[in-house]
Subunit: 346 residues, 2 copies
């Protein structure tokens, strides 16, 4: 690899929470490496729930991060900040090459991510999203819009954090027929199950997950299986080329898991995990999410509290398993960066 001229990439980021902040931190820390890879990110606009900041010439990322560390909105950014303005105000007015959506997943109507992604694609920007909801609700429309505009729509960070689960299935197994997908896709649920296996109650385990930053204040989507089901819907669209909605997934969460049963299973070497599966029956895929008791020899049984993983059982490419151990959301932010590098790297 030789170092050529790095291409400036003007980007707009919406969402400066767990993933968005770490993404900004990575583009600062990894600047030399990114130059080698042929790109030089310029933060042209940024939005959080309190406001926006925009400067076509580039915002100071360290200053944005300092505002967030101080608990303030990016709208408080000197000279270029606007408290109370919505993210759409960035997409209308800031010329950019790339829109990055790291806003929270809203499975009800997909907003604000969905509207922002549509606006960005319509304006000819490439899009990288870590936000599942717009894809779960509108994958076919968004992909068609990206194709029509001749731009990329990437979302490797939406499934299994920093693990390139989408890339692996969509790109490396493109010529294969996938007979079965099996995934541990939700960190929070499996963190809670692992803590319960260590003897804690469901409530204690949930509180620990929240304290460790793995669970939202409202953990409903995680513990009731809808987050894992959302990821399965994205895998179905993008890897299986099999369009479905959440209604097509049979979903069971982990609230009903009995701790004593769980501990007995664990004592015999088994592991209880929240598992998402897609299984081809010759005509269609059966999609399910639920707690499963995995035998000790199962390829994903050894995953710890910080693990997520996926198995692809294929016709011509054997059985491929991949998993990741991630103790913070940094690898998820690195997956956003991966998509950016694939779109703009030389």
């Amino acid at each position: 690899m030789t170092e050529g001229a790095a291409r400036p990439v003007r980007l707009i980021l919406v969402g400066v929470g767990n993933v968005g902040r770490r993404f900004l931190d990575l583009i600062v820390r990894k600047e030399p490496r990114l130059r080698v890879l042929g790109l030089q990110p310029v933060l042209a606009g940024v939005a959080d729930s309190g406001g926006i900041a925009r400067n076509a010439g580039g915002l100071d990322i360290q200053r944005v991060l300092a505002l967030k560390d101080a608990g303030e909105s990016v709208g408080a950014y000197p000279e270029f900040g606007y408290l109370g303005l919505p993210p759409e105000a960035l997409l209308e007015e800031v010329p950019a090459d790339l829109f990055v959506d790291a806003s929270p997943a809203n499975l009800t109507d997909g907003q604000p991510g969905l509207g922002c992604i549509e606006a960005a694609l319509s304006r000819g920007m490439h899009v990288v999203t870590a936000n599942k909801a717009p894809l779960v609700l509108a994958y076919p429309r968004l992909q068609a819009l990206a194709d029509a505009q001749g731009v990329g729509l990437r979302f490797d960070a939406t499934v299994a954090g920093g693990l390139p689960a989408i890339n692996l299935g969509r790109r490396d197994l493109a010529a294969s027929h996938i007979g079965r997908i099996e995934g541990l896709l939700n960190l929070t649920a499996n963190y809670i199950l692992a803590r319960m296996a260590a003897g804690h109650s469901y409530d204690q385990a949930l509180a620990e997950a929240q304290q460790a930053g793995h669970a939202e204040a409202d953990p409903t989507l995680d513990v009731d299986g809808w987050d894992a089901a959302s990821k399965l819907v994205i895998l179905a669209h993008s890897v299986l080329h099999y369009p479905v909605t959440l209604d097509d997934v049979s979903v069971q969460g982990i609230r009903g898991v009995d701790r004593d049963e769980l501990c007995r299973a664990e004592q015999t070497g088994q592991r209880v995990k929240l598992v998402a599966t897609a299984e081809w029956d010759g005509e269609s895929y059966r999609l399910e999410v639920g707690p499963r008791c995995l035998p000790a020899t199962h390829p994903l049984a050894s995953l710890g509290a910080h693990g997520m993983g996926i198995i692809y059982d294929t016709d011509i490419n054997g059985i491929v398993t991949a998993f990741i151990e991630e103790e913070t959301p940094e690898p998820t932010a690195a997956a956003v960066l991966r998509d950016v590098v694939e779109l703009f790297g030389s």
Copy 2:
């Protein structure tokens, strides 16, 4: 994904053994899927150790496979076959878009693969190789030649069979610093160790591996660790951007593994495997291949006799583990096809 016009890809294949035959079989069986992916392979030339066959308009792949099944050289192909002609005769005379090297690995001088790859690149063809030797001996020169010619040089099938180990490291972890690679990269050695753990002697286990088609008649490269070391050299060049030769790898094979010690380790849940490692010490990578005793909790400990796998321990992308179970070389042939799809798919 919508079906557009499939692009004809004229290809030359050298080597019609375990991998080459299965690759030909796959491009026949997967023709409809390849059309959807935007390509239509045309076999313009093929060579084995006995001769060549060439036809710019396309050879009948079923006929080529029938010749091989009958134990004959492709040089016996009616009208278009030439017994005794070397593979170079294809590269000089047949116009093609792609050269696929599936010839045997020759770590002494890399031939005939090395000469063929150089000739193909020099003539502006893309190259996909399943043959390690040319890369081990001449990676920097071949990559520079490909870059100068503006063509692709792909080799995902050279490391860990059908597992996209190279793709994962080179592409998905491009922005990461990799502090450690740990790989089970040689199927034969680990198959033998697994059989020895089941109580068989080294000689029995080797004979079984040969019978199962996993070991060559001369298994030296596999059991003495040079095959795994070769794969480590390719990973060093392509993923770590750290140019080395086989001389830089500390290599120990499995001939000296004591069966009783191995069985005792296995009885306590440990697994003895031939492991390849690259470890960053702050200034350079230490490269080693040798038998190692893995604890039961090691992410690759559960791999069976047909498994190969790799762990990437990174700075920003967590710890990523991937492995494959492959009972025949078909997934390795699928990895060749993967590279072809990446080069020519739409």
